[in-house]
Symmetry: C2
Protein backbone atom coordinates (compact mmCIF):
# COMPACT_ATOMS: atom_id res chain seq x y z
CA UNK A 1 0.00 0.00 0.00
CA UNK A 2 2.66 2.48 1.01
CA UNK A 3 4.75 1.58 -2.04
CA UNK A 4 1.83 2.25 -4.34
CA UNK A 5 1.24 5.63 -2.75
CA UNK A 6 4.92 6.45 -2.91
CA UNK A 7 5.20 5.43 -6.57
CA UNK A 8 2.15 7.50 -7.39
CA UNK A 9 3.64 10.45 -5.59
CA UNK A 10 6.95 9.95 -7.34
CA UNK A 11 5.44 10.08 -10.81
CA UNK A 12 3.14 12.90 -9.87
CA UNK A 13 6.06 14.96 -8.76
CA UNK A 14 8.30 13.77 -11.57
CA UNK A 15 5.75 15.10 -14.03
CA UNK A 16 5.66 18.40 -12.20
CA UNK A 17 9.43 18.37 -12.02
CA UNK A 18 9.62 19.07 -8.32
CA UNK A 19 10.76 15.77 -6.79
CA UNK A 20 14.15 15.04 -8.33
CA UNK A 21 14.35 18.35 -10.12
CA UNK A 22 14.04 20.90 -7.39
CA UNK A 23 12.63 24.13 -8.83
CA UNK A 24 15.09 26.89 -9.61
CA UNK A 25 13.47 29.36 -7.16
CA UNK A 26 14.13 32.45 -9.22
CA UNK A 27 13.79 35.94 -7.84
CA UNK A 28 12.09 38.95 -9.43
CA UNK A 29 13.10 42.33 -10.80
CA UNK A 30 14.18 44.59 -7.94
CA UNK A 31 15.24 41.72 -5.67
CA UNK A 32 18.92 41.40 -4.72
CA UNK A 33 20.02 37.95 -3.66
CA UNK A 34 21.44 37.55 -0.15
CA UNK A 35 24.39 35.21 0.18
CA UNK A 36 23.98 33.15 3.32
CA UNK A 37 26.77 31.01 4.82
CA UNK A 38 26.20 27.30 5.51
CA UNK A 39 27.27 27.86 9.10
CA UNK A 40 27.15 30.71 11.59
CA UNK A 41 29.44 29.05 14.07
CA UNK A 42 30.42 25.48 14.78
CA UNK A 43 27.50 23.58 13.25
CA UNK A 44 25.45 23.87 10.10
CA UNK A 45 22.57 26.31 9.72
CA UNK A 46 19.22 24.56 10.24
CA UNK A 47 17.53 25.94 7.13
CA UNK A 48 20.19 27.32 4.78
CA UNK A 49 22.78 24.67 5.61
CA UNK A 50 20.40 21.82 4.75
CA UNK A 51 22.00 19.92 1.86
CA UNK A 52 19.29 17.30 1.46
CA UNK A 53 17.50 17.44 -1.87
CA UNK A 54 14.04 16.57 -0.61
CA UNK A 55 13.36 18.82 2.36
CA UNK A 56 13.50 22.64 2.23
CA UNK A 57 15.18 24.61 -0.54
CA UNK A 58 15.48 28.39 -0.13
CA UNK A 59 16.80 31.45 -1.90
CA UNK A 60 16.88 34.67 0.09
CA UNK A 61 16.54 38.17 -1.34
CA UNK A 62 16.25 41.79 -0.26
CA UNK A 63 13.72 44.00 -1.98
CA UNK A 64 15.58 47.03 -3.32
CA UNK A 65 12.49 49.22 -2.89
CA UNK A 66 12.18 49.01 0.90
CA UNK A 67 15.04 46.72 2.04
CA UNK A 68 12.54 44.15 3.25
CA UNK A 69 13.25 40.42 3.17
CA UNK A 70 11.74 38.06 0.65
CA UNK A 71 12.44 34.39 -0.01
CA UNK A 72 11.49 31.73 -2.50
CA UNK A 73 10.99 28.52 -0.58
CA UNK A 74 10.18 25.02 -1.82
CA UNK A 75 8.78 22.58 0.73
CA UNK A 76 9.78 19.13 -0.53
CA UNK A 77 8.37 15.66 0.14
CA UNK A 78 10.33 15.30 3.39
CA UNK A 79 8.53 18.18 5.08
CA UNK A 80 5.34 16.16 5.53
CA UNK A 81 3.00 16.72 8.45
CA UNK A 82 -0.66 15.98 7.60
CA UNK A 83 -0.90 13.48 4.70
CA UNK A 84 0.31 15.11 1.47
CA UNK A 85 0.81 18.47 3.16
CA UNK A 86 3.61 20.50 4.71
CA UNK A 87 4.33 20.22 8.46
CA UNK A 88 3.33 23.46 10.16
CA UNK A 89 6.56 23.34 12.15
CA UNK A 90 8.66 23.54 8.99
CA UNK A 91 6.84 26.73 7.99
CA UNK A 92 7.24 28.08 11.54
CA UNK A 93 10.99 27.42 11.32
CA UNK A 94 11.37 29.25 8.00
CA UNK A 95 9.20 32.16 9.20
CA UNK A 96 11.29 32.44 12.39
CA UNK A 97 14.40 32.66 10.22
CA UNK A 98 12.82 35.04 7.69
CA UNK A 99 11.64 37.47 10.37
CA UNK A 100 15.04 37.36 12.06
CA UNK A 101 16.70 38.04 8.70
CA UNK A 102 14.41 41.02 8.10
CA UNK A 103 15.75 42.54 11.32
CA UNK A 104 19.41 41.66 10.57
CA UNK A 105 19.38 43.20 7.07
CA UNK A 106 18.06 46.40 8.67
CA UNK A 107 21.08 46.43 11.00
CA UNK A 108 19.52 44.97 14.14
CA UNK A 109 21.66 42.20 15.66
CA UNK A 110 18.86 40.18 17.18
CA UNK A 111 17.84 36.88 18.68
CA UNK A 112 14.27 35.56 18.78
CA UNK A 113 12.24 35.93 21.98
CA UNK A 114 8.69 35.10 20.85
CA UNK A 115 7.19 33.56 17.75
CA UNK A 116 3.49 33.41 16.88
CA UNK A 117 2.21 31.58 13.82
CA UNK A 118 -1.31 31.32 12.38
CA UNK A 119 -1.98 28.46 9.99
CA UNK A 120 -4.62 29.69 7.50
CA UNK A 121 -4.84 26.77 5.10
CA UNK A 122 -2.77 23.64 4.53
CA UNK A 123 0.09 23.77 2.04
CA UNK A 124 0.45 20.79 -0.37
CA UNK A 125 3.89 19.16 -0.50
CA UNK A 126 6.08 20.31 -3.37
CA UNK A 127 4.69 23.85 -3.57
CA UNK A 128 6.99 26.76 -4.37
CA UNK A 129 6.10 29.58 -2.02
CA UNK A 130 7.13 33.16 -1.45
CA UNK A 131 7.89 34.27 2.10
CA UNK A 132 7.92 37.94 2.95
CA UNK A 133 9.10 39.31 6.29
CA UNK A 134 9.37 42.87 7.49
CA UNK A 135 9.85 45.01 10.57
CA UNK A 136 6.54 46.12 12.01
CA UNK A 137 7.92 48.35 14.80
CA UNK A 138 10.99 49.02 16.94
CA UNK A 139 10.70 49.92 20.64
CA UNK A 140 14.06 50.21 22.35
CA UNK A 141 15.72 46.81 22.13
CA UNK A 142 12.51 45.16 20.92
CA UNK A 143 12.11 44.60 17.21
CA UNK A 144 8.62 43.42 16.21
CA UNK A 145 8.46 41.66 12.85
CA UNK A 146 5.82 40.06 10.69
CA UNK A 147 5.89 37.45 7.97
CA UNK A 148 3.71 35.41 5.64
CA UNK A 149 3.86 32.40 3.34
CA UNK A 150 1.92 32.60 0.07
CA UNK A 151 1.93 31.07 -3.39
CA UNK A 152 1.85 32.44 -6.93
CA UNK A 153 -1.93 32.71 -6.86
CA UNK A 154 -1.77 34.93 -3.78
CA UNK A 155 -3.20 32.33 -1.41
CA UNK A 156 -1.80 32.99 2.08
CA UNK A 157 -1.02 29.75 3.93
CA UNK A 158 0.62 31.03 7.09
CA UNK A 159 1.12 34.36 8.86
CA UNK A 160 3.49 35.12 11.68
CA UNK A 161 4.66 37.69 14.18
CA UNK A 162 8.02 37.65 15.90
CA UNK A 163 9.51 39.54 18.82
CA UNK A 164 13.27 39.85 18.52
CA UNK A 165 15.68 41.41 21.00
CA UNK A 166 18.59 43.57 19.90
CA UNK A 167 21.83 42.47 21.58
CA UNK A 168 25.38 43.81 21.07
CA UNK A 169 26.89 42.21 17.97
CA UNK A 170 30.04 41.11 19.83
CA UNK A 171 27.91 38.72 21.89
CA UNK A 172 27.50 36.56 18.79
CA UNK A 173 31.25 35.94 18.69
CA UNK A 174 31.21 34.82 22.32
CA UNK A 175 28.40 32.34 21.83
CA UNK A 176 30.69 29.58 20.60
CA UNK A 177 32.81 29.71 23.73
CA UNK A 178 29.68 29.76 25.81
CA UNK A 179 28.44 26.61 24.09
CA UNK A 180 31.86 24.98 24.60
CA UNK A 181 31.44 25.20 28.33
CA UNK A 182 28.38 22.99 28.33
CA UNK B 1 39.45 29.96 10.58
CA UNK B 2 36.31 28.00 9.93
CA UNK B 3 38.28 24.75 9.74
CA UNK B 4 39.85 25.42 13.12
CA UNK B 5 36.47 26.08 14.69
CA UNK B 6 35.02 22.99 13.04
CA UNK B 7 37.90 20.78 14.19
CA UNK B 8 37.56 22.13 17.70
CA UNK B 9 33.85 21.43 17.64
CA UNK B 10 34.45 17.96 16.26
CA UNK B 11 36.77 16.95 19.06
CA UNK B 12 34.65 18.67 21.66
CA UNK B 13 31.65 16.68 20.56
CA UNK B 14 33.64 13.50 19.98
CA UNK B 15 34.73 13.67 23.60
CA UNK B 16 31.14 14.16 24.70
CA UNK B 17 30.07 11.42 22.29
CA UNK B 18 27.29 13.44 20.71
CA UNK B 19 28.56 14.22 17.21
CA UNK B 20 29.14 10.85 15.58
CA UNK B 21 27.57 8.87 18.37
CA UNK B 22 24.08 10.20 18.69
CA UNK B 23 22.87 9.70 22.27
CA UNK B 24 20.57 6.75 22.92
CA UNK B 25 17.68 8.95 24.13
CA UNK B 26 16.36 6.54 26.70
CA UNK B 27 12.97 6.91 28.36
CA UNK B 28 12.11 6.60 32.04
CA UNK B 29 10.08 4.30 34.25
CA UNK B 30 6.39 4.73 33.51
CA UNK B 31 6.91 5.94 29.93
CA UNK B 32 5.60 3.79 27.06
CA UNK B 33 7.30 4.34 23.71
CA UNK B 34 5.14 5.51 20.81
CA UNK B 35 5.92 3.97 17.45
CA UNK B 36 5.74 6.65 14.80
CA UNK B 37 5.72 5.90 11.04
CA UNK B 38 8.26 7.55 8.73
CA UNK B 39 5.42 8.82 6.58
CA UNK B 40 1.82 9.85 7.12
CA UNK B 41 0.99 9.96 3.44
CA UNK B 42 3.03 10.43 0.28
CA UNK B 43 6.16 12.10 1.63
CA UNK B 44 8.36 11.68 4.69
CA UNK B 45 7.50 13.11 8.08
CA UNK B 46 9.43 16.33 8.73
CA UNK B 47 10.68 15.41 12.20
CA UNK B 48 10.29 11.66 12.70
CA UNK B 49 11.13 10.75 9.08
CA UNK B 50 14.44 12.63 9.19
CA UNK B 51 17.17 10.05 8.59
CA UNK B 52 20.12 12.41 8.79
CA UNK B 53 22.50 11.70 11.64
CA UNK B 54 23.33 15.27 12.50
CA UNK B 55 20.04 17.15 12.78
CA UNK B 56 17.19 16.16 15.10
CA UNK B 57 16.87 12.76 16.76
CA UNK B 58 13.70 11.98 18.69
CA UNK B 59 12.05 9.25 20.71
CA UNK B 60 8.41 9.72 21.61
CA UNK B 61 6.70 8.36 24.71
CA UNK B 62 3.39 8.48 26.57
CA UNK B 63 3.41 8.88 30.32
CA UNK B 64 1.40 6.01 31.78
CA UNK B 65 0.33 8.16 34.74
CA UNK B 66 -1.67 10.78 32.82
CA UNK B 67 -1.40 9.78 29.12
CA UNK B 68 0.52 12.99 28.39
CA UNK B 69 3.20 13.18 25.71
CA UNK B 70 6.91 13.27 26.47
CA UNK B 71 9.89 13.10 24.14
CA UNK B 72 13.64 12.85 24.33
CA UNK B 73 15.08 15.08 21.66
CA UNK B 74 18.69 15.67 20.62
CA UNK B 75 19.40 18.82 18.63
CA UNK B 76 22.48 18.01 16.57
CA UNK B 77 25.11 20.22 14.90
CA UNK B 78 22.91 20.82 11.83
CA UNK B 79 20.22 22.62 13.81
CA UNK B 80 22.35 25.73 14.21
CA UNK B 81 20.81 29.19 14.45
CA UNK B 82 22.88 31.60 16.58
CA UNK B 83 26.57 30.52 16.68
CA UNK B 84 26.92 27.27 18.64
CA UNK B 85 23.22 27.24 19.55
CA UNK B 86 20.02 25.63 18.35
CA UNK B 87 17.81 27.44 15.80
CA UNK B 88 14.62 28.58 17.49
CA UNK B 89 12.67 27.39 14.48
CA UNK B 90 13.81 23.81 15.00
CA UNK B 91 12.47 23.88 18.57
CA UNK B 92 9.23 25.48 17.32
CA UNK B 93 8.85 22.64 14.81
CA UNK B 94 9.32 19.92 17.42
CA UNK B 95 7.00 21.70 19.88
CA UNK B 96 4.32 22.02 17.16
CA UNK B 97 4.60 18.27 16.59
CA UNK B 98 4.72 17.40 20.30
CA UNK B 99 1.62 19.45 21.11
CA UNK B 100 -0.23 17.92 18.16
CA UNK B 101 0.80 14.46 19.32
CA UNK B 102 -0.48 15.20 22.84
CA UNK B 103 -3.91 15.84 21.30
CA UNK B 104 -3.79 12.80 19.00
CA UNK B 105 -2.88 10.33 21.75
CA UNK B 106 -5.89 11.65 23.70
CA UNK B 107 -8.11 10.77 20.71
CA UNK B 108 -8.44 14.22 19.11
CA UNK B 109 -7.83 14.10 15.33
CA UNK B 110 -6.45 17.60 14.96
CA UNK B 111 -4.54 19.99 12.76
CA UNK B 112 -2.65 23.05 14.01
CA UNK B 113 -4.28 26.47 13.77
CA UNK B 114 -2.01 28.65 15.95
CA UNK B 115 1.41 28.21 17.49
CA UNK B 116 3.04 30.51 20.06
CA UNK B 117 6.59 29.98 21.26
CA UNK B 118 8.59 31.80 23.94
CA UNK B 119 12.35 31.44 23.80
CA UNK B 120 13.60 31.67 27.41
CA UNK B 121 17.30 30.96 27.00
CA UNK B 122 19.46 29.71 24.17
CA UNK B 123 20.06 25.98 23.83
CA UNK B 124 23.64 24.84 23.04
CA UNK B 125 24.03 22.49 20.05
CA UNK B 126 24.27 18.82 20.95
CA UNK B 127 22.10 19.00 24.07
CA UNK B 128 19.75 16.15 24.92
CA UNK B 129 16.44 17.68 25.96
CA UNK B 130 13.11 16.49 27.27
CA UNK B 131 9.97 17.87 25.66
CA UNK B 132 6.66 17.61 27.46
CA UNK B 133 3.33 18.48 25.88
CA UNK B 134 -0.17 18.27 27.28
CA UNK B 135 -3.75 19.35 26.71
CA UNK B 136 -4.55 22.52 28.60
CA UNK B 137 -8.27 22.71 27.73
CA UNK B 138 -10.87 21.57 25.21
CA UNK B 139 -13.67 23.87 24.02
CA UNK B 140 -15.82 22.30 21.33
CA UNK B 141 -13.56 21.64 18.36
CA UNK B 142 -10.71 23.68 19.87
CA UNK B 143 -7.98 21.81 21.69
CA UNK B 144 -5.54 24.09 23.54
CA UNK B 145 -2.18 22.50 24.29
CA UNK B 146 1.03 23.52 25.99
CA UNK B 147 4.60 22.35 25.76
CA UNK B 148 8.12 22.98 27.00
CA UNK B 149 11.73 22.10 26.25
CA UNK B 150 14.04 21.51 29.21
CA UNK B 151 17.23 19.68 30.05
CA UNK B 152 18.33 17.29 32.78
CA UNK B 153 19.10 20.14 35.16
CA UNK B 154 15.53 21.42 34.83
CA UNK B 155 16.49 24.53 32.84
CA UNK B 156 13.55 25.48 30.60
CA UNK B 157 14.69 26.72 27.19
CA UNK B 158 11.42 27.14 25.35
CA UNK B 159 7.71 27.16 26.19
CA UNK B 160 4.81 26.94 23.80
CA UNK B 161 1.08 27.05 23.40
CA UNK B 162 -0.83 25.59 20.48
CA UNK B 163 -4.39 25.84 19.27
CA UNK B 164 -5.47 22.74 17.39
CA UNK B 165 -8.77 22.10 15.63
CA UNK B 166 -10.53 18.76 15.81
CA UNK B 167 -11.59 17.56 12.35
CA UNK B 168 -13.27 14.28 11.33
CA UNK B 169 -10.63 11.55 11.06
CA UNK B 170 -11.75 10.54 7.55
CA UNK B 171 -10.57 13.92 6.25
CA UNK B 172 -6.98 12.79 6.77
CA UNK B 173 -7.46 9.99 4.21
CA UNK B 174 -8.75 12.50 1.68
CA UNK B 175 -5.81 14.87 2.07
CA UNK B 176 -3.59 12.96 -0.33
CA UNK B 177 -6.11 13.23 -3.16
CA UNK B 178 -6.51 16.89 -2.36
CA UNK B 179 -2.77 17.43 -2.65
CA UNK B 180 -2.68 15.43 -5.93
CA UNK B 181 -4.95 17.92 -7.57
CA UNK B 182 -2.46 20.74 -7.14
Amino acid sequence: MFEIIWTKAYFMNEKKGNMNNVPELSGEMGWSELKIPDSYGIGRAFITGDRSSDRIKVRYFKKDSDNSFVARVWFGPSTEGPPGHVHGGSMAAVLDEAMGASAWIAGHTVVAAKLAVKYRTMLPLGTVTTIEAWISSVKGKKVITKGKVFDETGTVYTESEGLFINIPSEIFGEMINHSDAL
